[in-house]
């Protein structure tokens, strides 16, 4: 991001088509939705702004929130507070917990899910849950529209896979029913992602006491998300609760080794907590039933 000492160029389109044309003409312009990440930790009298800004607040198409039987459609400029206000009939408890943890309530009226997903230098608090729920993003540019799963929004090394002329316009979250779910935050702060925090999300489906689907992801203060689909399949078909079974021990050992190899966790404490949460969840998942 480039900052300059002169006045920034600010573009305030009123329609999406206009915004896409402006983004094509000014690819270096920083897209501004809620602006909370951009203005965070700036305590000076004047704000330090990027050289050019494309503000999306006047675009009505991006401020829509809709729910069908199978999915939740969130416009890129819909605030976190507005999504939360939709209530338990629209939001699953897992999604509500995850959204509440993105930012403090005072900031939730301004922060947006689209903004949270498109922070360039690190994965923010919404990433692990969006990963696990297999959310998709609608990405538009003057050349067309493409849908990208949140899992593909970042490269394996963590770079945001967005062309300079592209804008995230919508996020689609599948509304599947999970038999158990866990959303845990490890660290000193209750909101967002800080240097010492770790977010763990686990979801699972069962059928007649058997684990039929299992997903889990970890997010921390880095541009990467930890998720290993091969390891997720290890326990599929196992009879629940796993208690102290050999399957569970083998699974936890495999996770531990993989996390060590990928150097994802910053301390032993984090490793112990992650393994403990996984063990306690899988030992008796019905205590976390949705």
């Amino acid at each position: 991001m480039q900052y300059n000492l002169t006045d920034p160029s600010i573009y305030m389109p009123t329609s999406l088509a206009e915004a896409l044309v402006l983004k094509e003409r000014h690819p270096t312009a920083t897209v501004y939705a809620g602006g909370t990440y951009l203005l965070w930790n700036q305590a000076g009298r004047f704000l330090i702004l990027p050289g050019s800004i494309l503000s999306l607040q006047n675009i009505k198409e991006l401020n829509r929130l809709g729910r069908t039987e199978t999915r939740l459609d969130v416009g890129a400029t819909v605030s976190i507070q507005r999504i939360l206000r939709a209530g338990p009939k629209v939001l699953s408890p897992l999604l509500a917990t995850a959204l509440e943890g993105i930012c403090p309530p005072s900031v939730a009226t301004m922060a947006t899910l689209g903004g949270n997903l498109s922070v360039p230098d690190r994965c923010m608090a919404s990433f692990p849950v969006m990963h696990v729920l297999d959310a998709r993003c609608e990405i538009r540019s003057s050349k067309g529209t493409r849908w990208v799963p949140v899992t593909g929004l970042r490269s394996p090394t963590g770079e945001l896979q967005l062309e300079p002329i592209e804008i995230i316009t919508r996020i689609q979250i599948p509304m599947e029913e999970w038999n158990f779910h866990v959303h845990r935050r490890i660290g000193s702060f209750s909101y967002g992602i800080t240097a010492d925090s770790l977010i763990l999300v686990i979801v699972g489906k069962t059928y007649r006491g058997m684990l039929t689907e299992f997903r889990f992801a970890l997010g921390n203060f880095s541009p990467r998300i930890y998720r290993n689909r091969d390891l997720e399949t290890l326990l599929i078909g196992a009879r629940l609760p796993l208690g102290k079974s050999k399957d569970l021990k083998a699974f936890l050992y495999a996770i531990q080794e993989d996390l060590k190899n990928q150097k994802f966790l910053s301390s032993h404490v984090q490793m112990e907590r992650v393994l403990h949460i996984l063990q306690s969840t899988l030992s008796n998942p019905f205590q976390y039933s949705a």
């Binding site: 006045d7 965070w40 305590a43 702004l49 900031v107 301004m110």
Partner: protein
């Protein structure tokens, strides 16, 4: 840059520095000192104002963001029937927040009552975590908001 905004029901057009915060625009350009300056990081919640009927933190809102928008501060809100509902509710249960957070609490109460006229204790407590000031008893706050809600319900039915 030149912006146009509706500030407390009055159209204003002015040339601003784009890096100016809305908070400072209100306090130093318009002299609306009811919006208080706190942490400037979005934690304390003292600087809440309504922008297009949405509660926002004026410290984290650049002034340019209000272009063609409608800003309502405590000064503009005072004198409306909605304000009197809240004032009456607060006074009836003798809830008196300090001068620093009172304006934010009134606007937050208004935002809650716009969403629902039957706010639950849990919802009120959760929403008020947005204001860090610990000047008053939280249980009295819940009582005050619910009283204000009852007054507003009564007034709306009367109309």
């Amino acid at each position: 840059m030149v912006i146009t905004l509706d500030l407390n029901g009055k159209q204003e057009t002015l040339d601003i520095d784009p890096s100016l915060r809305l908070l400072h625009l209100l306090r130093y350009t318009f002299g609306l000192l009811g919006t208080k300056e706190g942490c400037l990081h979005g934690y304390c919640g003292y600087c809440h104002v309504l922008l297009n009927d949405q509660l926002v933190l004026s410290c984290l809102t650049p002034a340019f963001y209000t272009h063609k928008g409608k800003v309502l501060t405590i000064e503009g809100f005072r004198g409306t029937p909605e304000y009197y509902d809240i004032e009456k509710g607060f006074l009836e249960v003798q809830y008196t927040p300090c001068g620093f957070c009172a304006s934010a609490r009134v606007l937050l109460t208004h935002a809650i009552l716009q969403e629902t006229l039957h706010p639950t204790e849990q919802a009120i407590r959760k929403r008020f975590t947005a204001i860090l000031c610990r000047c008053t008893d939280p249980s009295r706050l819940v009582e005050a908001v619910q009283r204000a809600a009852a007054i507003r319900r009564h007034r709306q039915h009367a109309v």
